[in-house]
Symmetry: C2
DNA sequence: TGATTTATATATCGCTCGCTACAGAAAAAC
DNA sequence: GTTTTTCTGTAGCGAGCGATATATAAATCA
């Protein structure tokens, strides 16, 4: 599937399938599923309609493939941050900081495709909308699971409402995506992310110093995502200062 | 404009204009501007296309009228909360709590029309999208102004970033609207609102921890004027109040 | 060299979009 | 009554939608 093993028989394709898919992603990302017409796609992909249908099926199948590629290339940072960091707090903090960067990278559409590409849909596209909604639900579920693990381990207080906290994080991320599309710059999104983390529950007991403002590392090397709290940290009794 | 003074000359209108406008609002609110067709509108409004155009102009003008009516009947609660409560904190807290109720009222579309009705748009509807975006910007500006006033009065710390805090609130509200449309119930939205307020900066001087999660519990019925105010703390010690 | 296979370019298809011309219907004005 | 004014129902406009039929172009296989 990934490589051509034998020489194909007929006339070879005159365009690069991956490049065309990338262009389709741009269009769907910017305008959304329904607002992007086949005519838009053929123009930006640089191919004719029959080539599009031969290579990708129909509009819906092309979109599905775009969403899959998006998840692989751009959308995975949240799950990755939550899975890789040692605590839920650090994972979510890093996810929010990285979202501020990802959602404002120059040269690509603002915000998140999964969040914004199928919001105002006709009944004809109800399935597409439901598909993206399910992905959003799944993302929040991932966060909730990570939070629950920290409750079990004692990192978070036993009475922490994992579902509510995860949905709060999801709402903030969706809000950040919309703010990015509405024109907020990267620094503003970083401020929102930083503020949002102030709502995070205190560590249960003898926490180890969680410096949430520490380097998230491997994102995109952009220093704008300092993540440091521009606002005075709220007074806490149990939280050891870094 | 509000009343008919003289008897009109020709054949009288066979439908109630306000009722028709209400139905149009429902359609736009549910599906968004572009995804709602004239055919949808004439069906739900119960009138023919020529009657629609005679009474409201074109689709764009009808939508503008819908948005104006929406602002009057449903959308004003944020500005009202922020304007009426004695502090920005109480105002925003009440606004978030009321959003949880407003965005999940049974028998009407979920979420906020201004937030969600023109998100995936073709270039043909760029003006509509820009118009709603400007309203969102204005709402955040209102919140920012209220926060700034509390900084001046000393209610909030002098180093509070009013713009960032206002944009955070805006992002949370937009996230709540999307969550509502994604199926979150009222209790979940109330939890998100409660969590979001934990990020609010401490009062400049006056004492003790704010128990920001002070139960918005009641939800329905009258969103009490004092609802949510943990304790009246208007006096500030650090700065002279006007 | 054909013959076969696959891709592309042109020119649509049926359908829905926002919108309107036109003629008939229902009221006030005369 | 007749005239005038306004609204409503039918029917259809040009344009764009997603998707294709057809014919030609470019490759491999024999």
């Amino acid at each position: 599937m990934a490589s051509k093993e034998t020489k194909q028989r007929g006339r070879p394709r005159s365009f690069d399938r991956e490049t065309a898919l990338e262009q389709a992603m741009r269009s769907f990302w910017e305008q959304g599923y329904e607002a992007t017409s086949i005519s838009d796609l053929t123009r930006t992909m640089g191919i004719g309609a029959p080539s599009l249908y031969a290579a990708f099926g129909d509009k819906r199948a092309l979109f599905d493939e775009v969403v899959a590629a998006y998840g692989r290339r751009h959308g995975g940072f949240i799950d990755r941050a939550v899975a890789e960091e040692p605590t839920a707090r650090q994972g979510v903090g890093r996810a929010l900081r990285e979202a501020a960067v990802e959602y404002t990278l120059p040269g690509r559409p603002r915000g998140c495709l999964v969040i914004s590409a199928a919001l105002n849909t006709t009944p004809a596209s109800a399935e597409v909308a439901a598909s993206l909604r399910e992905m959003r639900r799944s993302n929040i579920g991932q966060i909730e699971s990570r939070i629950r693990a920290d409750i079990v381990s004692g990192e978070l207080p036993a009475d922490t409402d994992a579902s509510a906290l995860a949905h709060y994080v999801g709402a903030v991320i969706q809000g950040m995506s919309q703010q990015a599309r509405d024109g907020a710059d990267r620094a503003m999104l970083a401020d929102i992310a930083s503020l949002a983390m102030r709502a995070w529950p205190e560590t249960a007991e003898a926490g180890e110093g969680e410096e949430t403002a520490e380097e998230a590392g491997e994102t995109h090397g952009d220093p704008a995502a300092d993540g440091g709290a521009p606002h005075p940290r709220r007074a806490t009794l149990a939280h050891p200062a870094p």
